[in-house]
């Protein structure tokens, strides 16, 4: 599996990072270097192995259904780059 320039462009688009055309070549070779190395994993027989997502062995703790938060608009908007009338503001979205 090899990452070409167009793949770099596609994943950069998915990740919402603008990668200028001139950097795509270099990135594709770097990513290929990393991926080639990662493919060492194919040496491992994982035929009967279940993937593990969490090593704690515990199950999900639950909290009570109590309103304990909210009503902190000032904090929510404390660091906001642009706001109006209590809303976050972004460039217009066309659906």
């Amino acid at each position: 599996m090899s990452v070409d320039k167009s793949t770099v462009a596609r994943i950069a688009r998915l990740a919402r990072i603008h990668v200028p055309e001139e950097r795509q070549e270099k990135l594709s070779s770097e990513l290929n270097g990393i991926l080639d190395w990662i493919e060492e994993l194919n040496e491992v027989d994982t035929g009967n192995v279940e993937p593990i997502a969490s090593v704690t062995g515990h199950s999900l703790p639950r909290r009570e259904d109590v309103v304990s938060d909210g009503n902190r608009v000032d904090e929510v908007l404390a660091n906001v780059p642009e706001t109006a009338s209590g809303f976050f503001v972004v460039p217009k979205v066309v659906e």
């Binding site: 994943i11 990740a15 990072i17 603008h18 990662i38 060492e40 192995v49 593990i52 404390a78």
Partner: protein
């Protein structure tokens, strides 16, 4: 002043309680040390005023007999921890100017126990790096100097933390460890660093890198100080679903337990190509010390060790690609204006994230994307289980495992490396513990021929940090590591 800086945290606590020194005095000495070592670039923000206020409050509590575990002790905080009212940026441009209104659980615990906050410490951007060279604030520097005075990296990602503690610009410091980010810099800087069991320290309020691997832990100049700080910062937190309810044992009591009768594993797979012969020699020395102290050394096998690093470089970037999606210019931090929302995202993230962070986000996005998920991400999660099983099996026969902390000593700042994988190999000994969720301690054990510190690593069973402190104390005593870095505050007294 230099007398104050040479006190351990345990000794400083005793002197504070005895009234031999005062908390404001100690804090002032450290603030001066911070200034003195400023060229090491280990602090990204110094909170002098807050430190003095906290120290004054500590003094009051000491006088009224209400002192906490680390009352009056000056502590530096890795910039990955959110600290209320103090800019917290993960050393990334994308969090430029972000000032949380909240305090991370770990730092809140430290302040509750009387810690005095000196400021925020440099680190790799979003904790992604092994040399503290990816920081938006520029590299932090190791107080140990290489041959010909060449500047060395302090390790990473918690490089500023390790540098500051080693340079006596903080008595204690917090770090986070996702693949070795506490243990590797501790080894590079000749100090003690502990990554506790996954779930031991709350992740709430810490900027996430890879949630299933991230753990906070303490940096100190002695094993006892480390246990003291660990005792103050750890604990169950209902705000973190992965936080463990397992009670923390008395770590201070574990310090003098010794290792008599303990079985210590020595994994054959930790001898690697290109490994420094001095590192191997030190490792053997460490085994001898433990044998002399009454431990039984047992050869063990951790057959999947070799695959830990590649598995890590799938899992960590995958989680990071998702964890870092929130940095989008909408609610906080940097925003690059553009006409459309998508352009705003893409330009903001291109300008805000450094090269290494971008690289990892792209790798992480790729390994999760349609058609590649099974081949990469799922495969890595399967290998992760095998790595954990290796340890489970080993811990059926041994109580702890001794390994080198890093394959080499600290390397020069700005060392040119043509491919990223070479840098990633720094974490080869530390990454397995993160994948398996195990506690691991790195501590200094000797110097190499260049006069640079080398560290050993002790790995333990889940939630058995106590044994690591027992073992660490034995190694510390045997190694009698007394060398000091050239560029530390107060001179080499």
């Amino acid at each position: 002043m230099s007398d104050l800086l040479s006190l351990s945290a345990v000794a400083a606590r005793a002197a504070l309680d005895a009234g031999e020194i005062s908390a404001p005095e100690l804090t002032s000495a450290y603030l001066a040390a911070v200034e003195e070592t400023a060229p090491l670039n280990n602090y990204v923000a110094v909170t002098a005023e807050r430190a003095l206020d906290m120290a004054a409050a500590s003094q009051t509590r000491i006088k009224s007999g209400e002192a906490g575990l680390i009352e009056g002790i000056p502590v530096g905080v890795k910039d990955l921890f959110c600290t209320a009212g103090v800019a917290s940026t993960a050393c990334s441009r994308i969090l430029e100017g972000f000032t949380p209104t909240y305090e991370s659980t770990v730092t809140a615990n430290l302040w509750r126990e009387g810690g005095v906050m000196l400021g925020k410490l440099n680190c790799d951007e979003f904790a992604m790096g092994s040399g503290n060279e990816t920081s938006a604030y520029g590299p932090a520097v190791n107080p140990w100097t290489g041959a010909d005075g060449v500047e060395l990296v302090p390790g990473g990602s918690s490089g500023g933390s390790a540098s500051a503690v080693a340079a006596r610009a903080a008595l204690l410091a917090t770090g986070t460890d996702t693949g070795g980010s506490i243990r590797q810099p501790a080894a590079f800087c000749g100090i003690v660093g502990m990554k506790p069991t996954y779930g031991r320290c709350s992740r709430w309020g810490i900027v996430a890198f890879a949630s299933s691997l991230d753990q906070a832990g303490p940096f100190s100049r002695s094993v006892a100080d480390n246990a003291l700080m660990m005792q103050a910062m750890a604990g169950h937190d209902t705000k973190d679903s992965t936080s463990a309810a397992t009670p923390l044992p008395d770590l201070m009591a574990a310090l003098d337990k010794g290792v008599k009768g303990m079985k210590i594993g020595v994994p054959s797979e930790y001898v690697m190509d290109g490994m420094d012969s001095e590192v191997v020699a030190l490792w053997e020395q460490g085994q001898a010390w433990l044998r002399d102290a009454g431990a039984e050394l047992v050869a063990i096998s951790l057959p999947h060790t070799k695959y830990a690093l590649p598995a890590y470089y799938i899992i960590a970037p995958a989680e990071a690609s998702s964890n870092l999606a929130r940095y989008d210019g909408v609610r906080y931090g940097l925003r690059v204006e553009a006409d459309s929302l998508d352009e705003m995202y893409a330009e903001t993230r291109a300008a805000g994230f450094g090269e290494e962070v971008q690289r990892r986000i792209l790798i992480g996005t790729y390994v999760l994307s349609a058609g590649y998920y099974d081949a990469y991400y799922l495969k890595a999660q399967k290998v992760r289980r095998l790595i954990k099983q290796d340890f489970d099996t080993a811990f059926e026969t041994v109580d702890a495992i001794l390994t080198p902390a890093t394959p080499t000593a600290a390397f020069p700042v700005g060392r040119k490396v043509d491919d990223p994988v070479t840098n990633y190999l720094n974490d080869v000994f530390t990454v397995p513990a993160n994948l398996a969720g195990l506690p691991g301690m790195a501590l200094p054990a000797g110097l190499n021929s260049d006069g640079l510190p080398l560290g050993l690593q002790i790995l333990g069973r889940p939630f058995d940090e106590a044994s690591l402190y027992s073992i660490g104390r034995v190694i510390e005593d045997a190694a009698a590591f007394s060398a000091v870095p050239q560029r530390r505050a107060g001179g080499a007294s």
